[in-house]
């Protein structure tokens, strides 16, 4: 029973970390900078594909595994190899994180150039279509991740641990730590003059340019960072699940990210974290409950989908900027301003001292 709870906790924590990273990145792009990313799952899948493409091949080359990479036999062999060589599996994991991040950053940079010239809705549609069509491509082209079947045998970095529960727990803590690092990074990034600039880009790009801000560079930077984050989230996801298949990366991931951002509040990072918590609780909860006391004649994931889309529609109709409001930026200038205000107020009421 305890073991079950711990597993539930570590699964939830891992998913929470992945969701938080995704939604924080979307919040950075859209909430703070005003770039509508409807192709988030594309950048997410990049990280996962890095793992799916390179990790099996690297292992098989190093250890001379003759089985074709896509076969189930090869998967099992890769796992057992990784279990025997902890340093290798952890190195592969870290290398994957780095490469995912770099690939994501590169893609984000590439996307930033057209995003300048294209109106928001053009960009949104294009990213969506890119995400969908690339998924269709990857699922049909067998040389990437074995087509529709996907590829398995992606070893968890802690697979060498004897206790699988401990393995999951350690991984979830690592994921949580990575998410925490990203949260603090973004927090510092936006609560600064830099954050002020990107908000000004969101609110009125023309004025921002007239004030001398090179919008190009800011958008490129933001998109690189956020796409890098998305790819790293994808990398974490791939190692957690242990296999990568293209049909996993459907538009639903993008919609989840938007839902979490809206649940929490646009441009409100704490809110987005809250949104992710709600999402994980509801999502994981909905996976368990129905099988207990609802015997449905159909797959429960459809019901889950219906609930989520309805929640999303309700939020768009009634709270389109999210549940929590946008907060003013906590920049050094603001701290001085608020201290000044406080001094002024206390001067007015000497009796309160």
């Amino acid at each position: 029973m305890i073991l079950e709870l711990i597993t539930l906790f570590s699964t939830s924590l891992t998913f929470f970390s992945i969701y938080v990273i995704l939604s924080l990145s979307l919040n950075l792009e859209y909430g703070f900078t005003g770039i509508p990313n409807f192709g988030k799952v594309f950048f997410f899948s990049l990280g996962a594909y890095v793992v799916g493409v390179f990790v099996p091949r690297v292992i098989q080359i190093i250890f001379n595994v003759s089985e074709p990479a896509c076969s189930a036999l090869a998967s099992t062999q890769r796992i057992s190899i990784a279990a025997q060589f902890p340093i290798l599996s952890m190195t592969i994991f870290m290398a994957s994180l780095v490469f995912s991040g770099l690939l994501g950053a590169f893609m984000g940079y590439v996307i930033s150039y057209p995003s300048l010239k294209l109106r928001g809705d053009y960009l949104a549609i294009s990213l969506l279509i890119i995400a969908e069509l690339s998924r269709v491509f990857v699922r049909t082209e067998p040389s990437i991740v074995c087509g529709n079947n996907g590829i398995g045998g992606l070893p968890n970095p802690f697979i060498w641990m004897q206790d699988p529960v401990l393995k999951e727990l350690t991984y979830s803590i690592l994921s949580g730590a990575i998410a925490g690092v990203f949260y603090f990074y973004i927090h510092r990034l936006v609560n600064s003059p830099y954050g002020r600039v990107i908000k000004s880009v969101r609110d009125d790009e023309l004025v921002s340019q007239l004030l001398g801000k090179d919008v190009k560079i800011f958008k490129a930077q933001i998109l690189s960072v956020s796409s890098s984050m998305s790819a790293i989230a994808g990398c974490l996801y791939a190692f957690f699940i242990g296999f990568v298949y293209p049909d996993d990366f459907i538009i639903v991931w993008t919609m989840y990210a938007w839902l979490m951002m809206l649940l929490g509040g646009v441009a409100n990072n704490k809110g987005v974290v809250l949104g992710s918590i709600v999402m994980v609780v509801v999502d994981r909860g909905l996976r368990r409950i129905p099988s207990f006391w609802l015997s449905l004649p159909f797959d429960v994931s459809y019901l889950r989908g219906i609930i989520f889309t309805i929640i999303l529609l309700l939020i768009i109709m009634w709270r389109p900027r999210g549940l929590l409001p946008e907060k003013p930026l906590d920049t050094p200038a603001r701290k001085i301003f608020e201290a000044h205000l406080r001094n002024k107020n206390s001067l007015k009421n000497p009796s309160s001292q």
């Binding site: 491509f137 219906i306 529609l313």
Partner: protein
């Protein structure tokens, strides 16, 4: 050589479907200012209606069409009343509406999934086998090919007549051109809106029914047709109906004819088909955004298309 012509035939057939779909999408976009991603599901529903009626209940295939069209129009009106109209009234941004339309589409799709899996019809095809109408060596043109091309072109012509000649068509064009002035001029905005929903629901019904005969359907069939259709809308610059039609045929040819050539002469795997769609769309996008310089022949062609299109 014969296969090349066969590829041309399928390019024209598929292109016609994309063109008609892009027509409906562009019309919705221009007059009501809605990106209707749920349009895919109107098509899917119609496809299922026709497929079910003809295969399970042995209804004559031609009788299925009106029922499918009715279903598509009904869903179109309901979605507009429940989701799009309230959002427009609230003054939502175009991104918010897009988000809502994707969500609506997904919602309908999940409902279709539930219905299909409960009734065991997740994969289905209409009960009609097309017959060859013309046969030149191995080149086959079927009655279905002719029907698809004929019906879609007929629909586009009917639309054109309605929009250019009738009073309500003028109202649609006025709303498209200058929404504020249209309101000031006393247009009954809601009435025109409903008319547009009915008008674009019809081709969805037709496309869905035709598709259920042409190929097997799954709950994602509509979505897989919508993606190239939206790419065609982008080729048309989002505002041009002739541009969208050309885009539709361009994509039809790209996915079939050019894919075939690449396959036959360069050994490119058929899996690369979506990349062709993507390339065409990105090319059109970059030309419009001036990322590719206008000196190129392609951009001149695109601009010629939109110049005619701006006459709407």
């Amino acid at each position: 050589m014969i296969d090349l012509f066969q590829a041309v035939i399928s390019s024209i057939v598929i292109g016609s479907l994309y063109a008609l779909m892009a027509y409906g999408l562009t019309l919705t976009l221009g007059s009501i200012r809605i990106y209707n991603w749920a349009y895919a599901e109107y098509v899917t529903i119609s496809a299922y209606v026709t497929a079910l009626l003809s295969s399970r209940y042995s209804v004559d295939i031609l009788l299925c069409f009106p029922v499918a069209i009715f279903s598509a129009v009904t869903v179109s009106l309901i979605a507009d009343e429940l989701v799009y109209k309230p959002l427009t009234r609230k003054g939502s941004t175009i991104i918010q509406v897009m988000l809502a339309s994707i969500a609506t589409g997904l919602l309908i799709r999940y409902l279709i999934y539930i219905f299909a899996s409960v009734n065991n019809v997740v994969i289905i095809k209409a009960a009609y086998t097309s017959k060859a109408v013309a046969k030149i060596d191995d080149l086959i043109i079927t009655d279905l090919d002719i029907f698809i091309v004929g019906l879609t072109i007929f629909m586009m012509l009917v639309f054109h007549l309605i929009i250019s000649k009738t009073l309500i068509g003028k109202q649609i064009r006025a709303m498209w051109d200058n929404f504020e002035l249209a309101r000031l001029s006393g247009i009954k905005v809601d009435k025109v809106r409903r008319f547009v929903c009915i008008l674009v629901g019809m081709p969805a019904g037709i496309i869905g029914s035709l598709w259920s005969i042409y190929s097997t359907i799954t709950p994602t069939s509509g979505w897989l047709l919508l993606l190239p259709a939206f790419a065609a809308v982008i080729v048309g610059g989002l505002v041009s109906i002739p541009g969208a039609i050309i885009g539709g045929y361009l994509l039809g040819f790209g996915e079939n004819f050019f894919m075939y050539i690449a396959y036959k002469f360069a050994g490119v795997s058929l899996a690369y088909k979506p990349l062709i769609t993507l390339s065409i769309m990105l090319l059109a996008l970059f030309v419009r955004a001036d990322i590719i310089p206008a000196r190129w022949l392609l951009s001149i062609l695109t601009r010629a298309a939109t110049h005619r299109g701006n006459g709407r």
